[in-house]
Symmetry: D2
Subunit: 208 residues, 4 copies
Amino acid sequence: MTDTYAAKGYGARSIGFGARIGLLVVDFQKGFTDPRFSMAGSPLIEAAVQRTAELVTVARARGAPVAACVVGHPKGASPHYWKHDGVLEDLIEGSEAMDLDPRIAAPGIDFTFVKTGASAFFGTTVASFFAKRGVDTVCVTGCVTSGCVRASVVDSFQHGFRTMLVDDCCGDQEPGPHADTLRDVGRRYADIVTAEDVIRRLMANEGA
Amino acid sequence: MTDTYAAKGYGARSIGFGARIGLLVVDFQKGFTDPRFSMAGSPLIEAAVQRTAELVTVARARGAPVAACVVGHPKGASPHYWKHDGVLEDLIEGSEAMDLDPRIAAPGIDFTFVKTGASAFFGTTVASFFAKRGVDTVCVTGCVTSGCVRASVVDSFQHGFRTMLVDDCCGDQEPGPHADTLRDVGRRYADIVTAEDVIRRLMANEGA
Amino acid sequence: MTDTYAAKGYGARSIGFGARIGLLVVDFQKGFTDPRFSMAGSPLIEAAVQRTAELVTVARARGAPVAACVVGHPKGASPHYWKHDGVLEDLIEGSEAMDLDPRIAAPGIDFTFVKTGASAFFGTTVASFFAKRGVDTVCVTGCVTSGCVRASVVDSFQHGFRTMLVDDCCGDQEPGPHADTLRDVGRRYADIVTAEDVIRRLMANEGA
Amino acid sequence: MTDTYAAKGYGARSIGFGARIGLLVVDFQKGFTDPRFSMAGSPLIEAAVQRTAELVTVARARGAPVAACVVGHPKGASPHYWKHDGVLEDLIEGSEAMDLDPRIAAPGIDFTFVKTGASAFFGTTVASFFAKRGVDTVCVTGCVTSGCVRASVVDSFQHGFRTMLVDDCCGDQEPGPHADTLRDVGRRYADIVTAEDVIRRLMANEGA
């Protein structure tokens, strides 16, 4: 953090894990992870998918609720003015680009849902899902860090959750915007953690 | 935009103004604009306040709905895990830090509201206000660009509005995060415009 | 309306149609319309489906946006504490009980979406869909009047839309709660209209 | 409940209290409780205010979070098409009709907030407030039962909370719509309880 922000009190506090973790996986769907699709092909996203698959497996084994979303919309009817061609052309309901990456789906997901916008919380009931399960700490993974992950982190914070951005489980098209996102959200809304931090916590929590 | 994003279809489309503009002013309150408060003092924010005051005056004269929010919370009861000391310590209901900057208030504001989180849309009814007034294009101004302005832009987009980030009416603590924000949102969610662009459009629209 | 409410100013105003109608069809899915399912079988709902199918046909022909939802949830993962056995046991994603009634689907639907709760607006982006299409008047049809229809009417009102409850296009399990709903919402949030009123308006609006 | 609804599985389950209660007080403000205002004067509301004041006192003593809202809007700028004259004419920000009833305010309120619509959750951050405090059970009190209380109950349910409508802490203009509300929500979204039930539970929960 630059001195200007620190001098003004940004990032002065950390949040810490609470009593019950929920895991949120954002948009690890073929449209971003299978090179046949126009927005896919980032090695940063590929690494994040692999690490997230491991984290999902541990979370499931420890009884922590796991929610995963995919982004898309009915044909011709996005409710939003997206500037991406890829979102508008590839991410149509029923298309393979909206299928969850099989590595993420394999361990089992408690709540799989579709979103149409950037944030996993906007126009969805994932906040209700986590609240009903007693989650107080939401660990956010997925792609793209500077887009839908960031929007989801902000909304998780806004919903009153302790929010953790899991650095090595989030991927972007390039490293710069990933780093900029961590800088911005880490001084305002979320702690920046690693998959190892979350796994250690999941193993320590009795019955997750 | 770097080639990687452009090659993947980001920013391939622009949005354009619609038929009816609404102006949203985010957090131009003394806590950010009056140097007596810990988060204030940025010359970038000061310039943005001055330019926004001019824009509010034109919008009001042309009949375009103007909404302005301030951020804060009841004493001891923020519903969010903020990492800022400044937000938690200064922005308490009833405190002067939550007063709208007088230069913004002077031309008159149609809908003044309080928010507790980052986005001007989260936990508020400003989307309903704009919808009821027939607004299809929301022009976003305010501070801080890489925090509450960005969150508000994402939500404006998510609510189905054509969204314009007004570059010279938004200020940050430093220029880097301001520029990074424009880069990220300009290829996904919003057009980047100037106050002059908005004024020209307001003057062209009959009866705004 | 009883004198007590009228004397206190309830229902003193009517709302009226605006410039652009959107049609919302709530939960006309097999779980409520096909007698093989436990919550189906109401002749009031059957009549409302038939009338709504006619209204959808006219709306489509006149270019008015039509949105239709079904209610349900992933297996074992409703985010809500429903008290219905039927909702919890029948309305599981992938089950036939979540299929839109074919009579409603036949004319074509612009935006088909899933909800998990009572209101068609809660945890969905149908408000964004209507906002993006310039809708200012939402006409609500569907079932069950005293449950999901009512919740949707309240939310349509809350989102800033002119809201019309279309009496003969809404059905309940019994007539009493249907009538009570019209009484309560008609003095607060919505005008009570008939399909004929909406059709007349759709025919009058040029290009809908 | 009539046989038709019961036969179709409505109300087949009860919800029960969870581990941590939050208390929500809806619209016990002078506009509804002080006979100088047009919508006030109901003896049913008066009784509910008195009983709620007792409940707030116990909740505060036991450390259960208490949130209270008032309804209103900036002058001339309701974001909703209300059909009440009273709401539109009396409930203007800064007016005495928006002051919390002093009997409710006296024990202290943890989170006091303004809403513009019917539900205490719509366009507010009270769900975040409860989530951050670890609340899993929201007990709803206030007025008017068939209007804002009912809308708040539906939204509490939608947010994933166990929801209790506290019968003797809710008041309406007349008894009929109060009873109809309990019938409708009690078979779908909420348990119907008394203040005594909530007090007993608050006393039993260690440290609330």
